[in-house]
Symmetry: C2
DNA sequence: CTGAAAGCGCTAACAG
DNA sequence: CTGTTAGCGCTTTCAG
């Protein structure tokens, strides 16, 4: 099954060789850019190959050469979260990786997988399906990832750098991002800045540390009541903010751990008659496309997806070739838009 | 390059065979579920294989058996549009396809490609990289797609069914979707319903036809001034709506060709002091996750992504095996939320 | 039921 | 510079 229709047999090297009146090896050399071949013969063969729109059979090539230029990209999901990934950040990351990998001549094998069965990605490598794997997000599987690293599985993950980490991670500079965001709000004269996100998620935790540091730099310590736990999904972010408002805690700013959370929080606050940025200034995190077009447009910490994708690919190749790569952070940058303003006098 | 580190040689059939004291062919049979093998031997071999966490080398298997269980999925993009895809609909579709394909034992090779060089996907098939291709969206390349079909390329596309179409498409029932949406608005007593979208895009065109049909069913013909051209991107949708408001055309409802457009339009209208749904009722298209959590939550025409993904995969397999499959439409359904209401008396 | 042998489409020594 | 010769890891006749 899953074989093509019988009639249109695919053209292969032997055909080209016959037509060009040379040996198969000559064709192979011509097409692979070997130097030990007459330029004239190469030209003839290349031309012939193109006119027949011949493309080399990658499976055979890989099998023979032991190479592999396919990398696996997996977006894990939590079982309870289930359903489809909805945060546009992931699409952006995937896009970026696709472009990077294509540029470098790699194919991208995509898969979703339950976070707690993430070990299964090892099969992709064991079976020679891919040469390495990029995992988007840690999803609380730090220890499992460490185990994969012990098995010498070639992979890198997009996420935070953690203590006792045996694998290579690439992430944004979360601490600094948090510092920038909270610093910006405090600099505008905001006094009671809510941190909205899930501190149990490693990246959010680091952003929270930056948030604390910004307060310290201003000689402040945030009221613990200003920590507003919220998952990274839209409905839960909305209900978290709704509950928070009901509690009546005073606040004049929100730093959300993702743009998606921020935008949903702004929506809820707007529906409750609060004005953003006047009553409450809001900063998000990621700078997804939507952030520039929300109402009001969202001030946020930009994670440069193109650099991130490039770094992930770079590190993965290093892990594959040298067995190791150091974790990295790509620099973050504050993008100021209309969702933040100075306190009015 | 891109070879794994030398030391950890991958275990293969020969190893299992040696350890089990049988021939390679026996291992092959045991693992592939052949019937002509002693159940006891099979058990022993399977167990051994699992304990060594052996996974079969797919490249070799495919090469030998001529099979291929990888399908290519491509999301084209327009050059001027460039940058990253931003509409969450695509992520949803990709997710759905990933799940469907995984369930059916296929791998998913993902790629972005410029819409007007879409012919290049043929290489994936010619080189034996994939057994077939799923293209997300027509992107105005109907004729190019027809040419690919003439070349017998095994592919299907998510999009509209068009005149003189030689390839298999799967899409939502755009006409009916438009009919439902506009019918709903007219049924609420709305009289001047804007159609916002790009009529040149084939799917939007069909939704527009449904919009016209709904008017006809109510004995109406829409004012041509109510056609509001808009691309499918956020900034352009916003400026289109901004311009439209400036023009001062009277209207009391909007049917947008995508949720993304609808949500951005709602934002612009809100910023101009218009109340949704009271002053203007809005219906979108797609039912992306965001639609349920916008302000107000968006009434929309749901495209069932799971069914769509399943249909795409099903059709692709049929094209591969039988050389042909008929185009299909998956049924759409109106999801009523708070962005639409009856005209007040 | 099992083993031996041939070969999928290609690359890479090895000899000219 | 080019052809000959072995396989890459697996499946599949063909004989036992």
């Amino acid at each position: 099954m899953v074989k093509p229709e019988s009639d249109n047999r695919k053209i292969q090297m032997a055909d080209i060789a016959r037509l060009a009146g040379v040996s198969i090896s000559t064709v192979s050399r011509a097409l692979s850019g070997s130097t030990l071949i007459n330029e004239e013969t190469r030209a003839r063969i290349t031309e012939l190959a193109r006119s027949l729109s011949y493309t080399i059979n990658l499976g055979a090539k890989n099998l023979r050469s032991g190479e592999n230029r396919t990398v696996g990209v997996v977006i894990p999901y939590l079982r309870d979260n289930r359903q489809h990934v909805t945060d546009p950040f992931f699409l952006g990351m995937l896009d970026s990786l696709a472009d990077q990998l294509t540029d470098q001549g790699f194919d991208l094998l995509f898969s979703r997988i339950e976070a707690d069965t993430i070990d299964e990605v090892a099969n992709w490598v064991d079976s020679g399906r891919v040469c390495g794997i990029i995992i988007i997000g840690q999803w609380g599987q730090h220890e499992r990832l460490n185990q994969l690293a012990r098995r010498q599985l070639p992979f890198v993950v997009w996420g935070a750098q953690l203590p006792q980490q045996m694998y290579c991670s690439v992430g944004s500079d979360n601490f600094n991002g948090g510092l920038l965001a909270a610093g910006h709000l405090l600099g505008l004269g905001r006094k009671r800045v809510v941190f909205m996100g899930n501190r149990d998620a490693t990246e959010a935790q680091q952003r929270y540390q930056g948030y604390l540091a910004a307060h310290a730099a201003h000689g402040l310590a945030p009221d613990p009541a200003l920590y507003l736990p919220s998952p990274f999904t839209e409905p839960k972010a909305q209900s978290a903010m709704t509950d928070f408002l009901r509690r009546g805690v005073a606040f004049d700013a929100v730093f959300a751990a993702s743009d998606l959370i921020a935008i949903n929080a702004m929506g809820v606050m707007g529906a409750h008659g609060l004005n953003v940025p006047k009553d409450v200034s809001v900063v998000g995190y990621d700078d997804v496309g939507m952030a520039a077009h929300s109402f009001p447009p969202l001030t946020t910490v930009r994670q440069p997806l193109d650099l991130a994708g490039a770094a992930l690919v770079h590190c993965l190749l290093q892990v594959i070739r040298q067995g190791h790569a150091d974790p990295r952070a790509v620099t973050t940058e504050l993008v100021v838009r209309a969702s933040t303003s100075a306190v009015s006098v």
